[in-house]
Amino acid sequence: MEDIKKLQLKKTAIEVRKGIIEGTFNAKSGHPGGSLSIADIMTYLYFSEMNVDPNKPDCENRDRLVLSKGHTAPALYAALALKGFFPVELIKTLRKPDSILQGHPSMRYTPGVDMSTGSLGQGISAACGMALGAKLKGKDFRVYVPLGDGEIEEGQVWEAAMFAGNRKLDNLCAIVDYNNLQIDGSLEEVNSPYPIKEKFEAFGWNVVEICGHCFSQIEEAFEAAKACKGKPTCIVAKTVKGKGVSFMEDKCDWHGSAPNAEQYAQAMAELDEAMKSLEV
């Protein structure tokens, strides 16, 4: 990856992270931890990978993203807003009664949201349907589906994985946000879904393991996914929950709680500092 592209993606990812903090702070609720861990991947998807046009959010040939880990909507909304699907200012309305930004993604409220999600395990099935729809219609659009690592404890994920493998949906790409934390603790403490790679491989998937915060690895993984024919690809992305905000990093308490005013100020200061360090 060219340095200039990487720098731009890093800057955009900081803007996405600021959007996550802005949204959850104003909402006084929401899920910053998993939003921050998937932020770099969401940035890459919307600013490098996906064929989407904010002026034509319903374009038939667009690539689709189904945020199966729907609670991390703040990351999706920040990426969509920065991409131009709706004004960035609206991020502050997250979770409020008249907002277009529901607590979990709704395709009927928000331009650019391709599927309503939030109940874990369901998004990947819809993504399978979209990918199959593309095949049946002879369209070449691709479908991306970020999953939580805790989310893959849901049985439906494996029903969908079996379906996608059996149907050879090579236009489908799942991304497991592997931060090893869920609400009640670490994945091993709660109900280990490990090993993730071998499980998806057993279901007929191509699996790529990467660092989910390294743009060159992210790029290589999505290129590998496109190059792989006859199998869906699962990118297992090792991430840090709360990534980019020091006091939120690797803490499961930040799964579903919003920063207070003081924490908001500190988080924004850290992100501004990170931006500044990229600009020198």
Binding site: E60, G118, S125, G129, M130, L132, G133, L136, E159, F163
Partner: protein, 317 residues
């Protein structure tokens, strides 16, 4: 009555799907039950438009939703127990909440599943589906109505739950029957009491009305094929003109037609509503027709309930 034509509504479902198969936008999904749900009739003609999702109903509903977002009209088929029961939350969150164009073909509803027993005799599906916003529910009375219902479901934009039975039931509608979604059908006028029936109980209601007639009671008979949205007008008119209602359904008395009718009338024109249905109990194994008798789902019990409704009406007068 030797020349009564009989048909199972699940067979009609398969036949209707086959009629629709020439349309480019139609897809049919099943969960390894094509031979039982009769989607096999479609599969044989249009194998490229048939997707077997295997024994994974939750995933099937999600796949149906995803396909619908790409412009398809998708039929998702399984037994009522699994379509409305197991996959309830997928139907709610992935189909109904985004208001996607998925038609759920739920066969083997009710006690008349027969020998398979309680685990497969879903008597709660109408209650479950009725509680979901955006959901339309159709419970046809016979094969003619079932075919018409499938076509009406396709013409309706949004999710529809269609309830079909395994058992061959007598045909009550004529071939040129015109089906109107959301409209009750007045099958017989009457002034003393109204029998509001759905599904296979419609035929029993007509038999009951004959019995009542012989006893000097003039019963009105209404077929409610669309349970949601329910035809309030035909119910309120019946309440005003007959003053007593009996509901009859092959479903739990909790949350089904009886509840829907009671809810509609209690707010608009309260009159006694006496419910006949599966009485908050599980089914059991046995031949379907015997089970319908055992669980009291027959004309004889409609007659008894009708008399009770009239008695209540007179008490209140």
């Amino acid at each position: 009555m030797a020349d009564v034509i009989k048909g199972a509504t699940r067979d009609a479902y398969g036949a209707a799907l086959k009629q629709l198969g020439t349309r480019d936008d139609i897809l049919v999904l099943d969960a390894d039950l094509a031979k039982a749900t009769k989607t096999i009739t479609f599969k044989k003609e249009f194998p490229e438009k048939f997707i077997d999702c295997g024994i994974a109903e939750g995933n099937m509903m999600g796949v149906a939703a995803g396909l619908a977002t790409t412009g398809y009209t998708v039929f998702a088929s399984s037994f009522a127990m699994f379509a409305a029961g197991r996959a309830f939350e997928q139907v709610r969150n992935s189909i109904a909440y985004p208001n996607l164009n998925v038609k759920i073909g739920a066969t083997h509803a009710g006690i008349s599943v027969g020998e398979d027993g309680a685990s497969h005799q879903c008597c709660e599906d109408i209650a479950l589906m009725r509680s979901i916003p955006n959901m339309v529910i159709i419970n046809p009375a016979d094969d003619v109505e079932a075919i018409a219902a499938v076509h009406a479901a396709v013409d309706h934009e949004g999710p529809v739950y269609m309830r079909f039975g395994r058992l061959a039931v007598p045909r009550v509608n004529c071939e040129d029957y015109k089906f109107e979604l959301g409209k009750g059908v007045l099958l017989k006028d009457g002034k003393d009491v109204t029998i509001v029936a759905t599904g296979l109980m419609v035929n029993e209601a007509l038999i009951a009305a004959e019995t009542l007639k012989a006893e000097g009671i003039d019963a009105r008979v209404i077929n409610i094929h669309t349970i949601k949205p329910i035809d309030k007008d035909i119910l309120v008119t019946a309440a005003k003109e007959t003053g007593a209602i009996v509901t009859a359904e092959e479903h739990s008395i909790i949350g089904g037609l009886g509840s829907a009718v009671s809810e509609a009338l209690s707010e608009e024109y309260p009159v006694p509503v006496v419910k006949l249905g599966v009485n908050d109990t599980f089914g059991k194994s046995g031949p379907a027709l015997e089970l319908l008798k055992i669980f009291g789902l027959d004309a004889e019990n409609i007659v008894a309930k009708a008399k009770k409704a009239i008695e209540l009406k007179n008490k209140l007068a």
